[in-house]
Symmetry: C2
Subunit: 447 residues, 2 copies
């Protein structure tokens, strides 16, 4: 004992006590770092514990407004008994993927300094001068990883969502000096916004021509081919095959979570959108793969006159998100890829939906799909569309009104160019809303 | 001594040595936090010291491509002798403000997690359902701070730049069931994009009607009032004052760095854009202050059909930037406000430009402005427009071609509805380009 004590002089003790102080100081500093990190990225359970003053404005305004009904724990909650709550499944707001992105944490958090991305220009050497090279690179990479589109010898045009690119395509494909606007057609049921988006400006360049199957005017036309189709989820090809036809392929849903990938799409003009790919609708980012340079130039001109380019912030954030998706597909052993995650959810939701439809004893019907080989998952799979194309059989003429009676908001078939016996229902909403919806269906008395 | 030693048993010593270990462990952990932080936020001087692998992609793609010709050191460099280098001052790319934003550093760096802002919707209770409340709040605050616009009893509509809001305004103000499109006019010299933006869709709702001063068709019309005016910088009022006239006020340049603030603007429909306010053109964010709720609804509908909303990322980043501007105006003692900084630069550039014009011995002429009281700076000031409206006097008929001969790219008066003796030259480009421009002018032989 004496021996031991002799080992420790006052100086030793001072050093040790200093070390104690230092350790306490550092402990405090390190804790404060954790607090800072915590306040910036609170996890779902933690948000409610935050004192208002500590909540970052960003979280209050954006994630907060969303978080209430979008946690990955939601589907463990028992569906509530309150049938007065309105369940809005009219829109295709892709909230279903939030859980995956919460898990990625820091990896997909973007930081943009106040002095960055200030110029109008992104790449003056590119036909699309406002295209961020980083975004372009990740789009090409993801198409290669998924195998759903040929990107070689294509011009990439970025848009404020694919809506803007749809309008840009109509502008670019319309003949310049024609006395009559060119007809824009699509086989019914067609995407409900096509007619209004085509005609709201009363353009002299193009006008809505209705159902492609009934189109009998000779001369040039633009046919919109949505595959898999919104609203019914079926794989589509052009129905009119005339020499004067110009095609726009809307492949917003040609991703592995919705439909088997048969081969890389290879068309003249193809539209994609981040909203349905990763669920980031709020970014308003879409892209077009365009074969003809002159068409790409005219589409770029349209966007220049329409909005003088596309948000750089969202292009850079989209690049980060797409990179994370491609990276997740390359994970060796363990770690779920984005498409494994999303495909699992869609499979699960469709299983539950079909069970609910079955319980209706033929009151409702939904499309049935035959399996086909998916080159991405390397197996035979059936489609799990982003929307349910529900039909009210028997004596219900107006399916949308019928479901509204149960506080379920859907979109009537009339908007898609078919009978009101049909409705389109989103399968991409939050787990909570989807469970509410299934529960609400179970309360309908079909006898 | 013995007394002191007796205070320290083996257990005390163990605790202290443990503390020493903990302190070392924490020190290491804390240091690793600092390293992480450093690599995430390298300052300008540090970037070049980073090993390529450590450079964040974002910095490589966006800031790096910009930084080459936009650092705050630029104007200390001697203007180069090379007269073959093309100086492009055709566009109004507002690179001049980058230096200010570099100084703000972390304060204006935005962080958005991968799971945030995914939904299409921002505030379903608002007429403009895609308007981020945080952005709306900062717009109102900045107008209060600057005193350049009445925001009470106004509906705020956000747009993908003010270009989209310009088109939304035409759509909203056009009579719905008129057999003829309504005429859109503006007094010349008018903003060069107005005619093409109005007519590129060949809309049946509205069509370009040319110079307002020469407009003699009776009936309803839309008059565009840009004040201060692009290209010439003069304060403007409506030139047609007929009962059937609808007014759109484009106040993109009604900010203290460009023109004295006389009073809060108070019109039916007013457009502003972040590009000219803070220099963040790449965000593509503009806003409209709208008196009539139905007009605001129709503008919102236009943006819904055009792009289904506006980038949330850019709205949130814009909120952060606008907050920094308002905060900088409230600094007590010391600390330069954004408008002090930008006003000083514009004053300096205009001084140098007028000296250069004077040296031309009447070969060139530029507008002269009389001073007026600025309620923001609380003194009499002269305007310092974002563009120079240069006239080639004497025997030069085509001023744009003449300057192109000296590798100076400008925009001819013909695009603004006047003679080609005039050109518009941007005053908002980088310090480097502006100095190149002045130097190039000095090489012209006016004898």
């Amino acid at each position: 004992m004496a021996k031991l004590q002799s080992l420790f002089s006052m100086r030793h003790l001072l050093v040790l006590s200093l070390a104690l102080n230092v350790s306490l100081i550092l402990r405090m500093m390190y804790d404060s770092q954790l607090d800072l990190f915590f306040y910036k990225y609170p996890r779902q359970g933690q948000i409610s514990n935050l004192h208002p003053q500590n909540k970052p404005r960003l979280l209050i305004s954006s994630s907060f407004s969303n978080s209430s009904s979008s946690t990955c724990e939601d589907h463990h909650q028992p569906p509530p008994k309150n049938n007065n709550r309105v369940i809005n499944l009219d829109h295709g707001d892709p909230r279903v993927y939030e859980a995956f992105w919460r898990e990625t944490g820091e990896k997909t958090t973007i930081k943009i300094a106040g002095w960055q991305s200030m110029s109008y220009f992104s790449d003056v050497s590119n036909v699309c001068w406002f295209l961020e090279p980083e975004f372009a690179e990740e789009v090409v990479r993801l198409h290669r990883v998924v195998g759903n589109a040929v990107t070689e010898d294509r011009h990439l045009v970025v848009g404020t969502g694919s809506s803007q690119l749809f309008l840009a395509a109509l502008y670019a494909l319309s003949p310049t000096n024609s006395p009559q606007p060119i007809s824009v057609v699509s086989a019914s049921p067609y995407y409900s916004s096509y007619p209004s988006m085509t005609d709201y400006q009363k353009s002299g360049l193009y006008k809505w021509g209705g159902d492609a199957d009934k189109f009998d005017i000779s001369g040039p036309y633009i046919e919109l081919v949505t595959s898999p189709n919104n609203p019914d989820g079926f794989v589509r090809r052009s129905v009119l095959n005339r020499s004067e036809g110009l095609l726009v392929h809307d492949l917003a849903y040609y991703w592995p979570q919705y439909t088997p990938i048969s081969s890389p799409s290879n068309h003249d003009l193809t539209l994609f959108t981040l909203s349905k790919t990763t669920g980031h609708a709020g970014m308003r980012i879409g892209w077009a793969l365009v074969k003809d340079k002159e068409v790409a130039k005219k589409m770029t001109k349209f966007i220049e006159l329409n909005t003088i380019g596309v948000s750089k912030d969202s292009q850079l954030r989209a690049a980060k998100v797409l990179r994370a998706v491609s990276d997740s597909c390359k994970l060796q052993g363990g770690g779920e890829s984005f498409f494994q995650f999303s495909h699992k959810i869609m499979t699960d939701r469709w299983k539950q939906l079909r069970e609910a439809v079955q319980r209706s004893n033929g009151f409702f019907s939904v499309p049935t799909f035959s399996p086909s080989f998916c080159t991405f998952f390397n197996q035979n799979l059936v489609p799990h569309p982003a929307f349910v194309w529900l039909k009210c059989e028997k004596n219900v003429e107006d399916c949308e009104s019928f479901l509204r009676g149960y506080n379920i908001l859907t979109r009537s078939g009339t908007h898609f160019g078919v009978s009101q016996q049909y409705v389109r229902i989103s399968m991409l909403d939050t787990d909570e809303n989807f469970m509410h919806f299934l529960h609400r269906l179970s309360t309908i008395n079909f006898r």
